[in-house]
Symmetry: C2
Subunit: 352 residues, 2 copies
């Protein structure tokens, strides 16, 4: 059995759960590497994956004997099978955010569960701390993202549309990685004032500012990086705001480490923004892993304490409505006494 | 208030529900034309749509005063508001298949609901019967699908890949409709033996059989049609199977009408297939509307009785593993005494 399933069994034992039903497909992928529709059922004796005919072959091609996972076609599971899975179990856990109320009732009935217990994101919490293999995948995705940025810097020319640049990013990631980890943002001129801008047919002009937010996947694990660049000499106002954002991106890097309180860090960035007459209008960062946005959420409303081998983003941004915006973002690994930025594209003010 | 919301209020009253919370986004679109993330809350006095900042502007642009729908930003809904929605309500309905167990508990708590009642697809069942406006949308989508098929017949040439043909279908639907209603199937040669084949890089050859399953959307409503065509003279075996499938497609058209039992019809098709040494390995049809697959499911395991103005598919198919397959499918409107095929592309054996 792999280390992640072993961890889960230890965790279950500490919570006095004799079984658990896992429905969140990302958690199933995390625990088993299985990327298919289905349900993972951990019984006192076995690990069972219940799927359907469409996926049986694919799942068998991923698993080895060492995995100790039994695969069932849902059409072959009898009512007796369901009953046997959790026979003599007192408490069985489930993921209350990933099953419908109808499924909850059905499971209670068919599995004959005595005490069906909400598990409050135990697996998502564990997913915050990455192991060596996971970190290596994210590192690779970050390296490819740095390469992609180099490629894009050479590619962008006045007259191209935002969509064209976004397409180039996607093509690069399809060729060099497992594709994008999210739809890239390419926001130029006044579009850059919207944090979640979608690429448009707007053409790059002389004197433009361009925000590029992008990432790819390796072994299912994501990277996430934002750079803001300039076409021709930026205005005094743009320079000033770029400097504030960059200073705060660097300040956050100096603060991220095991034990740091993220609410405090976000509060300090917010204070610095306010001192300069601006606001922090979105979160300062988020966990990165199999999903592009994972726990912890880093902002001045949430308390959370950083731990070694969390991978999180550091992404301060300032947006002047209707004019322009600047965001600088890195993917960062937390260590015992500091942190390591895994994205390493240059952050000095760049004019193309 | 529109006729669909009025229907819902009458239905609620007959079920002794004083309120209902609707979470299924397709049901929300059906009732209100709103196509945005959010929750529709029908209280004794009001129709309320709770959404977030991203959608407020879009939702307001769709609604008119006549709709009598109040739109809230979820961040502006206070605990008092939640409590007031269902004040003095005895029974409030919810969609047990569309809220998580966690949301179920949260809703019970914040809305202070006495008796939270499962509603067992009441809206999905109503959606089976289409009104004039809905039928007109589906008719248009079917006409465009017939046009697309004409276009494709002229487009296909030996040497093209399945993917290229699928791309041409998508482009046609983007230009002439609201895009595809599902990823088109273009399955040639031995690929046609898989009912759910995905287009590949396989090139069309002389003597090929090609199954094309496609549809588009108009006003959100879908069309669905399959034709199987031949490149050059088909083999005797192909001709024979084509004839069996076509005869059964026509037989089903002769049987579809108000009051018909779909299980019986499917059973007769299955019998005819068996008589000829083949099996019916998938459903014979399904409802078509805002979703490409809706209730009723038409097969020999499910009982259901057809009603006037249902729109369903008629899609018998025979598949010879590793060799080839034939499927012929129409989108059909049920009438009082017969039915009308809304897709009208020729079904006589076609050689290109």
């Amino acid at each position: 059995m792999n280390a992640k399933l072993q961890w889960l069994r230890n965790k279950m034992s500490s919570l006095n759960l004799q079984g658990i039903i896992i429905s969140n497909p990302v958690n199933i992928k995390y625990l088993t590497k299985i990327d298919a529709e289905g349900t993972l059922v951990i019984t006192p004796k076995e690990n069972v994956f219940i799927t359907d005919g469409r996926y049986i072959e694919h799942v068998h091609s991923i698993l080895t004997l060492f995995d100790e996972i039994i695969v069932y076609d849902i059409n072959d599971v009898s009512l007796d099978d369901y009953e046997n899975f959790f026979m003599f179990c007192e408490n069985v856990g489930f993921e209350e955010n990933y099953i419908t109320y109808a499924k909850y009732k059905e499971y209670k009935r068919i599995y004959k569960i005595n005490n069906f217990v909400e598990t409050e994101h135990i697996i998502e919490k564990q997913r915050m701390i990455k192991d060596e293999e996971e970190i290596n995948s994210i590192k690779k995705a970050c390296n490819i993202t740095d390469e992609c940025f180099k490629n894009i810097l050479n590619y962008i020319k006045v007259g191209m549309t935002e969509k064209q640049i976004a397409k180039q990013i996607e093509d690069f990631y399809i060729e060099n990685a497992e594709g994008i980890s999210f739809e890239p943002i390419v926001a130029s001129g006044e579009n850059s004032s919207k944090p979640h801008a979608v690429p448009t047919d707007r053409k790059i002009q002389e004197q433009d500012i361009i925000t590029i937010d992008m990432g790819c996947k390796i072994n299912g694990y994501c990277s996430d990086m934002t750079r803001t660049i300039f076409v021709g000499e930026p205005s005094e106002e743009m320079r000033k705001i770029y400097e504030i954002v960059l200073n705060n991106n660097k300040f956050v890097l100096s603060q991220y480490k095991e034990g740091a309180n993220t609410r405090q860090i976000a509060k300090m960035v917010e204070n610095n923004f306010k001192l300069n007459g601006h606001n922090l209008i979105h979160g300062l960062g988020h966990g990165i892993g199999l999903e592009i946005h994972e726990t912890p959420k880093i902002n001045y409303k949430n308390d959370s304490t950083l731990k070694e081998n969390m991978i999180i983003s550091d992404e301060p941004g300032i947006y002047i409505p209707g004019k322009f915006g600047v965001r600088i973002e890195d993917t960062v690994q937390i260590t015992k006494f500091s942190c390591i930025s895994l994205t390493n594209s240059g952050k000095d003010l760049t004019i193309i």
